[in-house]
Subunit: 461 residues, 2 copies
């Protein structure tokens, strides 16, 4: 690519757009915006800018486009595939000052928000209204980042990923054009859908400056259970049977024993160290939840689970959920001196037992310990491999088995990335997963961003 | 536009692709493919072709693109905005021979289907498996047509429109390229979403040749009620309050008294002639449904409904649903010598009472009787106006009030078309609804179909 370095005159021009207090070339700021939570090597931007409104974003992009300066949007840096690492340097636009709730329209189950708002802060504000924004990737993800990655989480199995919860978007395109898309009606058949091109595009097609999100009613009743199995593969079968039964859990999480050990060590939860499912139902009445939990119980007993613990109270449920959210971080902490790679495949639910079994036997055969867990109800499997930093031989093996697992998922009709996005780490699988579609993705990229200034080096191999 | 007329040599070439028994220039075939169920004037294609596989579709499109011959896909002609009327003549591709269920993957809640399959035929096959494909536009809509129009229906308020129920698509592009998109995992964050550009594009970007659709479990329990109100505006308020309560009906339909009269006359159902809501809940247990129906009851009583009739049995429920499906047709039949126009706006649910009230007073003030009904839970309002065919003065008034209603819906944050698509009839509102987005829709059109051969004359003003 043919980008220009940021020179003094560029910095001066950009400072004249945002004010000199909202642009920085200080090394600590550059370093803070050089890495996400993945193992991908950091890369420093040349400057960080903190815009406060769409006009500033538009002016900056117009300028950057004219001067061929790469621009990468930044939420909170919690992504897991290097998605916002500015590999071609240039400018990072940090949205932490555009973090307002513009309006909550409670009666429409909608909120208008700025991209830098953390979804947890939105949900905190919504709590006393009995509403919430369902996608829950954990960490302090911002809504802008969630839109960029089509983030999902523990309750996606019931409420859908970010894509299913966005009604309107305003994005700034590479040349500074401000584009508003969508409407506030809950359904429409009016012309081409443009919004969905931007959701999951990882900031490579445009930069979100505001969004209307769909809210849901906070459930009146919860019912939660943990279930223990003899082996992970059987737990995987139980997941398949539960989903197939149509009882629609609100969460259905799998944790292999090695994950339970890490949680017990850090959180002192004293959980039984065995393959475990975490099941949650949301509903309007206790009777209803008893009924569906009863079906889940029958399925698990039929597969010889050895414990089915129901009636978990709110405090314990929240501890469990928090442990699940922090799991990847806890795994990393428990391996000092190591780097990690996270598998994030998703497959059709009937193939879930097969991908688990395949992935775990690859890992066993190669002698590389992996941590297996995932949003099982979505057919989404995570496997974290830890390898000694710099040990090339070990990393060659890890890379090889990771590759095999992803290729197997694709061959089963699945995807290289269920929720973390392509970023840097999954670019190599795009051809295998998408074939000719990848050519059309590139045409879409060239249409919206002909100079390729937006988050270059991502998604495409 | 600069299209070529179909000449003898073209017909011969196309016949050599599909065989001469699957191309017709007979007037009765041309007439059958010249109009849909709207009032838009018919326009004859020059030939109708019945392809049987994607290779034929690809060969035909490649040929048509080279010779600048318009091509319009045809499902069953049940659309309501002139969407498949071949206004520039050319070829119509009738998909009635591509109507197979390729595979039902029961355990993944998925089916692979051909575009000419009627969704009712799919649901018939699925019934004994306890599954169904939820979007339900009524009539004998084909799945290809439903994808083209992003169709929805009575149960969309719970299960989403067609867009929410498609996982994979294969389309043939204008130049004959066969493009496969999406995957079979229930979620993915892998690269740009291309599928959603084609859903709702009314066959102007590509022609669907197969699809993987998402299925849902047929509910174990149903609970249905009809509720009568003193006026339509109050019924609209009840809709808003029910949706706001978060109890998630599976249907929430509004029928104004004039619609009930038509139903009673044709179906002899003997319903109370007053503003009526039809409410349905789906669930796993009777207790749960009692609970949510109780809330609906409280809301309606609070708004002085004068009858809330619960516990409607299956036979009556199905009669009511069928009457609702056939309503537009019955209205038309009851006005011989008249033409009709159907308003299909959708607004944020809080604006539903306002749009109803505005639309009905416009209609009252102009002295034009309208039939008000709609998928109320989605904020989707239909109004059918009947005017004497050829009475220009009456039609000027109808067009004027229709325009005002649509413009009001847009100004309330809504859309010109909730489910019928843009077709011919809503093109005039695209600029007002989409602004600059319309320019980008046109760029997407030019990218996929640079010669503009696919269903020309639709969507764009």
């Amino acid at each position: 690519m043919k980008f220009n370095l940021l020179e003094g005159r560029h910095l001066k021009d950009i400072a004249s757009i945002v004010g000199s207090d909202r642009i920085s070339t200080g090394i600590s700021n550059l370093e803070l915006h050089s890495r996400d939570q993945s193992q991908h090597p950091p890369s420093l931007p040349e400057a960080v800018v903190w815009p406060v409104n769409r006009t500033e974003v538009s002016d900056i992009l117009r300028y950057a486009n004219r001067h061929l300066i790469p621009v990468t949007g930044w939420g909170s840096g919690t992504s897991l595939e290097g998605n916002p690492i500015p590999v071609f340097n240039g400018l990072v636009l940090d949205f932490s000052l555009m973090n307002k709730i513009i309006e909550i329209r409670e009666s429409d189950f909608q909120a208008d928000v700025e991209p830098g708002l953390a979804y947890q802060d939105l949900n905190e504000k919504l709590r006393h209204k009995g509403l919430f924004f369902p996608p829950d990737p954990g960490a302090r993800a911002t809504i802008g980042g969630m839109i960029a990655n089509n983030a999902s989480g523990i309750r996606t199995v019931r409420y859908g990923s970010t894509r299913a919860n966005i009604l309107r978007l305003t994005v700034v395109l590479a040349d500074g054009e401000v584009l508003e898309m969508g409407c506030r009606a809950s359904k429409t058949s009016s012309g081409y859908d443009l919004i969905n091109s931007f959701i999951g595009s990882e900031g490579t097609l445009g930069i979100v400056v505001d969004a209307t999100v769909r809210l849901r009613g906070w459930p009146e009743e919860f019912s939660t259970a943990t279930v223990n199995f003899g082996d992970v593969e059987t737990a995987g079968k139980a997941v398949f049977e539960i989903m197939r039964s149509g009882i629609e859990p609100a969460s259905l999480e799998l944790l292999a024993p090695e994950c339970i050990s890490v949680i017990n060590r850090e959180k002192k939860l004293g959980m039984e160290v065995s393959p475990t499912l975490f099941i949650e139902f949301h509903g309007a009445s206790g009777k209803q939840l008893e009924y569906v939990m009863g079906i889940a119980n029958e399925i698990c007993e039929g597969l010889d689970c050895y414990d089915f613990r129901q009636g978990i109270e709110r405090k314990e449920r929240e501890e469990l959920l928090n442990a699940r959210y922090e799991l990847a971080e806890m795994i990393r902490r428990s391996h000092p001196g190591c780097s990690h790679i996270v598998i994030d495949v998703a497959v059709p639910i009937s193939a879930y037992p097969e991908i688990i079994s395949m992935a775990r036997s690859e890992s066993r055969n190669a002698g590389i310990p992996g941590y297996t867990f995932g949003h099982a109800g979505d057919g989404n499997l995570h496997l974290v491999f830890m390898g000694k930093t710099g040990d090339e031989k070990e990393w060659d093996i890890i890379d090889m088995i990771s590759k095999r697992i992803v290729e197997t998922a694709i061959s089963l009709g699945g995807t290289a990335t269920g929720e973390h996005g392509v970023g840097i780490g999954k670019r190599g699988f795009m051809k295998a997963e998408h074939g000719r579609s990848l050519v059309w993705m590139k045409k879409i990229k060239d249409l919206y961003d002909p100079n390729g200034i937006l988050n270059p080096g991502k998604i495409f191999p």
